[in-house]
């Protein structure tokens, strides 16, 4: 509850006993309706002038009962719901859920399907990272120009998604044991075209932004996340890697066919907003490499394991945790199956946005209110995933 200004105690501008003029702090509620909270998210800020003294992230405005819903539904039934978690990256959400179920049920995925999944996941990473940088610069006040440049590229990727899955954002594309529809040669040609065009877009993007003095002054040494804190708080994804934590599930788990593909993991040293920005640019360059390799190596074959019956799908009792390196970090699904096995007994999502958001206060305190939105933008949250 925000206190009305009239209740504030009256004060005079006379120095107190210690010779310092006593001033009041101002409690500002940034959100839930605010242009830069990326959805219905609230930050209770206590400001001393323009500086942040304390900040409390308040979540839950977009709670949709995702986990409970999934526990009332057949295994496949919640696949479309995973699209709505992080609505920017429905493909990787699908994959994480499919991976968890496959682990639990012991399904072997055919090679072609694995390659298709890698292609889709890396396209998603390109899409997410370019747009995140755009949104972050929107928060910096760059008035949508970088964002709309990123959206121009995103459009091509979304067109491919539409051609493949019938939907631009809510793809619902992965299935247990493979993917729903096979990729045609035409789709693969489009993906190749995207992979060859994207580096040019990145060069243009970097030429316009990376050495811009205002951007450097606004982002360097702002919102520093130390390596120890990043590890202790369970931060994952580009955010952890910007702080110097060498943790990429594509390298650690080598799920899918990532073990066969060659790529590097860029690491930052300081962990400020600029590192988070630039690590994403470097990751996009690596993603393009992965994409080109996957498009070169993709074998012929079935796109889904033929033995999997999607109708009346049952899993023997047990529990399993499937995780992938989503664009935002470690996206995991913890599933428990009990007798009957028609639906999950327990269904839990480990959303990277939510866990990356928990250390917001540590990064913001001491900075100006203008930095708060930039730091929030660099964390890369999607409220659908934070609140579930």
């Amino acid at each position: 509850m925000i206190q009305p200004l009239t209740d504030a105690k009256p004060y005079t501008l006379t120095p107190g006993s210690n010779g310092v003029i006593e001033t009041q702090t101002l409690e500002v509620s940034i959100g839930p309706q605010h242009p830069s909270t990326h959805g219905v998210f609230r930050m209770d800020c206590v400001l001393d002038g323009e500086s942040v003294v304390a900040l409390k992230p308040v979540m839950g405005y977009l709670h949709r009962n995702h986990e409970q819903l999934a526990e009332r539904m057949a295994w496949l039934g919640s696949m479309p719901y995973t699209d709505r978690l992080d609505y920017f990256n429905s493909m990787t959400n699908n994959w994480a859920y499919a991976l968890a179920v496959e682990k639990l049920a012991g399904i072997k995925v055919p090679d072609r399907a694995e390659y298709i999944r890698v292609i889709m996941a890396e396209l998603t990473r390109l899409l997410n990272h370019s747009c995140v940088i755009g949104f972050m610069l929107q928060d910096l006040g760059a008035w949508g120009t970088p964002l709309l440049y990123a959206f121009r590229e995103r459009e091509r990727i979304l067109d491919l998604y539409e051609a493949v899955s019938g939907s631009r954002m809510m793809c619902n594309y992965m299935r247990f044991g493979g993917v729903r529809v096979n990729l045609t040669d035409e789709n693969l040609a489009t993906a190749k075209d995207i992979a060859t065009r994207f580096p040019r877009f990145l060069d243009e993007f970097e030429k316009l932004l990376t050495n811009n003095e205002v951007l450097l002054a606004r982002t360097q040494r702002v919102g520093v996340l130390p390596k120890e804190l990043a590890i202790n708080a369970g931060i994952s994804g580009p955010m952890a890697r910007a702080s110097g934590v060498d943790y990429d599930l594509r390298k650690v788990d080598k799920y899918g066919v990532y073990g066969r593909l060659e790529f590097r993991v860029p690491l930052g040293d300081i962990g400020d907003v600029y590192d988070r920005y630039y690590i994403r640019v470097l990751e996009m360059r690596e993603s393009i490499k992965i994409l080109q390799q996957a498009l070169r190596d993709i074998p012929q074959g079935p796109h889904i394991a033929p033995e999997v019956k999607l109708r009346n799908f049952k899993i023997p009792p047990g529990d399993g945790y499937g995780r992938i390196e989503g664009p935002k970090g470690e996206l995991g699904f913890y599933l428990v199956s009990d007798e009957g096995g028609k639906q999950p007994y327990r269904y839990h999502v480990r959303p990277p946005s939510f866990i990356n958001l928990t250390i917001l206060e540590d990064m913001c305190v001491g900075h100006k209110v203008a930095d708060v939105v930039v730091i929030l933008g660099s964390v890369d949250i999607v409220l659908g995933e934070v609140d579930r």
């Binding site: 925000i2 500002v28 008035w143 205002v214 040494r221 630039y278």
Partner: protein, 409 residues
């Protein structure tokens, strides 16, 4: 006004000739107009510039918004408004109608009177600014002998409206925006006035008309513009930055930074009150662009400008062309630059702009006292360049560094 006063009798005679054909009232009106009393001539001479300012510049404002949206659209590879009229030409009118018909909301806990007064006050100084902007050879609404001083005094008054709006809204975002606006306008006033001092020294007058006149002559009426002097070039850049900060344009739009404090001081304004704030802000930035043109870009001087009807029309063309150029420049910057932070804005004003404008004043002195032009060119340029390098070294933020990234093995 003086020019109008001179031509007013002819104008009225022409009018009386037109109106003389009317039945009933034609004869007496024509008689009155063909031989007007002195007070009536004065009233006409006052009314015509007022009508000009009040009709032309809001029109420019309306179409500036359209040009801005179109240009921003092209910069962001969009199309921009194109639904209302051809090329969206009726868009400003549609916007005006929309804003007029919107519900006017006053927050319950707001100070209602001050909340109402603020947008009105926001427009007045902006309109008054135009009274000293010469739009053509000898064509200035009021040729004040302290024109530049008047312009600065008036433009600072606009901050009062911003603070009134922010304070009366009883909104914390408004209050933050108002605080930022006051701090920003007050600090950018100083380097801006000092940059203008250089021009005043060179022209030897505070009158805007005299300053514009001092830049005439030379090859094609162009080479004597102050911007083609070393000190004038530096002054132009300082003044443009100051003017952009004063009228809260990107990258200095922190009083209404959308991504941080929603809309700053006009968060709680809707409908036409909001439009009035916008009007005041845009008019102020257009007027500041006009003063920049007058002080540095030769004002109305250009090839073909001069006295007489034709020369006057050409001079008006040059003035408005330059004004349009300055407006497009601000739009271009808005489309391509991120916003700076409050503390960076302040340190930029006090650590870079202020010393540089003082250095610039010394440069004008050198220019004046070194009689041989080539030597004056070399000496002032060297002086300014050396100081610029020193200051940028001193003020360079210690935060900015070039980074190398490593890859995990």
């Amino acid at each position: 006004m003086d020019q109008v006063y001179k031509v007013a009798p002819q104008l009225l005679k022409f009018l009386s000739y037109l109106l003389g054909w009317l039945p009933w009232i034609g004869k007496p009106v024509a008689g009155f107009l063909s031989n007007p009393p002195a007070w009536f001539l004065l009233a006409v001479a006052i009314a015509i510039p007022i009508l000009f300012v009040v009709s032309v510049f809001p029109g420019i404002f309306a179409y500036t918004t359209l040009v801005e949206r179109k240009a921003l659209g092209r910069i962001q590879n969009r199309i921009g408004p194109n639904r209302v009229g051809r090329w969206g030409l009726l868009q400003p009118i549609a916007d005006g109608v929309k804003l007029l018909t919107k519900e006017d909301i006053v927050p319950r806990s707001a100070d209602k009177f001050v909340h109402f007064l603020a947008p009105v006050i926001a427009v007045i100084p902006s309109v008054l600014l135009f009274s000293v902007v010469p739009v053509g050879a000898g064509l200035v609404p009021v040729d004040l002998n302290i024109g530049i001083l008047f312009a600065f005094a008036i433009s600072t008054a606009s901050v009062l409206a911003l603070f009134m709006g922010g304070w009366a809204s009883r909104n914390k975002f408004s209050l933050l925006g108002a605080m930022r606006a006051v701090a920003q306008v007050v600090s950018y006033e100083v380097p801006m006035v000092l940059a203008a001092v250089a021009v005043v020294m060179a022209a030897g007058s505070l009158s805007t008309l005299a300053i514009a006149k001092a830049q005439g002559g030379g090859i094609l009426n162009v080479t004597h513009w102050f911007v083609f002097r070393p000190w004038g070039f530096v002054g132009f850049i300082l003044f443009t930055i100051g003017a952009m900060a004063e009228s809260a344009r990107t990258p200095f739009d922190i009083p209404e930074a959308e991504s941080e404090i929603i809309a700053g001081y006009h968060t709680e304004y809707s409908g036409f009150k909001f439009a009035l704030f916008q009007l005041g802000e845009y008019l102020a930035s257009i007027a500041m662009a006009g003063i920049t043109v007058t002080m540095f870009l030769g004002g109305y001087n250009g090839p073909g400008s001069g006295p007489g009807i034709l020369g006057g029309l050409i001079s008006m063309f040059w003035f408005f062309a330059k004004l349009g150029g300055m407006i497009v420049l601000t739009i271009w910057i808005r489309g391509t630059w991120p916003r700076v932070r409050v503390d960076q804005l302040m340190s930029f004003a006090w650590k870079v702009l202020l010393p540089m404008s003082i250095v610039n004043i010394v440069a004008v002195g050198m220019w004046h006292y070194i009689a041989i032009r080539p030597i004056a060119w070399v000496v002032t340029t060297l002086w300014l360049v050396l100081w610029f390098i020193t200051l940028s070294k001193l003020a360079a933020s210690e935060n900015i560094e070039k980074r190398e990234y490593r890859y995990a093995s």
